[in-house]
Symmetry: C2
Amino acid sequence: MKENPSGCSVEESMRILGGRWRLPLVSCLLDGPKRFNDLRRDVPGISQRMLTLDLRALEDAGLIRRTVYPGSPVKVEYALSEDGERLRPVVEVVKTFGLWLKARDGKL
Amino acid sequence: MKENPSGCSVEESMRILGGRWRLPLVSCLLDGPKRFNDLRRDVPGISQRMLTLDLRALEDAGLIRRTVYPGSPVKVEYALSEDGERLRPVVEVVKTFGLWLKARDGKL
DNA sequence: CTGGATCCATAGCGATACTG
DNA sequence: CAGTATCGCTATGGATCCAG
């Protein structure tokens, strides 16, 4: 009973948060809602394709809300859902680790 | 230049923690040092190949220490390094999120 | 027991061009 | 502005066999 369902939970998370852009994307959205091209700018290096796919995936997971404001041209806004807000601590701690990593390896 | 270095740190982290098994592996090692076949057992589903590769990668990143105790048969022990201990909060928070995720999707 | 070597399948991702 | 569609490469990971 002391066995490892813990690792499984981590796997569950990684199925959604894995990949190169998911977490950086969420990280950007923690600042507040953004539009498609805002994200393209704020997540440097992401391709338009991956942006679309990962936004889709996160939306399907219920972590992101997509709102369309009609008009010409249309305006589409992406925001973290209430559930997605649960990712804040995740992003924070991963970011912290990344910063520490960079500092460590920078000093070697 | 004022732009998102936060996201970059997240990317740095994911370069090391990405992949399907890295974090589950670290999660297992949080309990204490383990041997190769212990890990094979405790990280259900991992192939021997990936276990080798990921242990290697984490070792190269300085997050894991590998100790060989000579004898016949040899005994090899893997443990988190001091640096690797920095992953504890990461694993914890990811695990928490995973558990919550499973609960949420289980209840839908 | 602790791996290394090989082969192979798939998933992830990038680049580019096109569209309402 | 906010996407879709297509192509192809590479990385990731599984299966199997071999070895000290």
